[in-house]
Symmetry: C2
Subunit: 186 residues, 2 copies
């Protein structure tokens, strides 16, 4: 379990850990109302915005990894589809409108209870700029990518896979697991 639950969010009473009837995972269960508080992985959605031979990165102006570069991505919200979430995050972080091309990678980051779903996306009008989350937003040729300053290992992996795909001209979707060690920036 990733986050400790001390009190029931429904009635405010104490919770305790236990395995509910018919279940086989420990859950936080309310000692008063019996409400079971499930915890599940969260999905991050984002995209690789392409413009001719360049791709767009954002320089983070928030923690963690302030000052490092990343692709626009963030937690999927209730009530939106994965495409809607990727478009929203791209606008929030780069003031950029893109068109989704196709899903590219789904990475399991089970060690932090997260998944990353990254789409390829095309920039039709290269209008973008800094936001309260990004101090700088710019287009990069492959040879310009600041590999030593990419914010998160999963983003470095996504970029590596993307440029490998571009050599072949093929971008088949893949679902892959990243372990804590394999996702270290090397």
């Amino acid at each position: 379990m990733d986050k400790t639950v001390q009190y029931c969010s429904t009635c405010g009473a104490d919770v305790e850990k236990g395995i509910p009837p018919g279940d086989d995972h420990p859950r936080y269960i309310c000692t008063a109302c019996g409400c079971i508080h499930y915890q599940n992985p969260k999905l991050v959605v984002g995209c690789i915005p392409e413009y001719e031979d360049r791709i767009l990165l954002c320089r983070r102006d928030i923690e963690p990894r302030r000052g490092k570069w990343t692709l626009p991505a963030g937690f999927l919200e209730n009530g939106e589809s994965v495409r809607e979430g990727a478009l929203r995050e791209t606008y929030e972080e780069a003031r950029l409108r893109v068109e989704i091309i196709a899903p590219f990678r789904l990475f399991d980051l089970a060690f932090v209870n997260q998944l990353y779903l990254m789409f390829r996306a095309s920039i039709t009008v290269p209008e973008f700029g800094p936001t309260h989350e990004s101090s700088e937003v710019r287009l990069f040729f492959e040879k310009e990518i600041p590999w030593d300053d990419i914010a998160f290992p999963v983003i470095a992996k996504t970029l590596q896979h993307y440029f490998s795909g571009r050599v072949k001209g093929q971008f088949p979707f893949q679902s892959l697991e990243l372990s804590e060690s394999s996702s270290a920036i090397t």
Copy 2:
């Protein structure tokens, strides 16, 4: 927001709805400790188990839709990958071991804050049986599928897409949105 939060799970104080600084979505925020209680969509993982020309379905022995047929699937748990989750659910619901072939469909069910990721999977040893979740587990030829008794619209869609793919001998991955109306069983 799907589930009402009344009390802070960290300190037990009252929460109120508000938009945190730098955010633009309303959240439940603790009036005492300031903890923000995010709510995000949940991912359901499952598979389409194939054995020669047949696929395996489970007859639900739990609510909702007790007595209806479904593919093995359930909520992804913290700490597991999507493949691990699909294999676990298949064993829990059908006492069946499968080998994952490839991801097949990702369906957004934004209207219930859920996503379904369904894999194709192969049965090498056809050993399976009822469980506390499934009163009956069996293999079906396409012509035998109980279309009027499939438990959930997203499962009927998955089966329809699967059999369409089989006609062409191709199963390309697709990410699709299901609306509440489009996912009605027709």
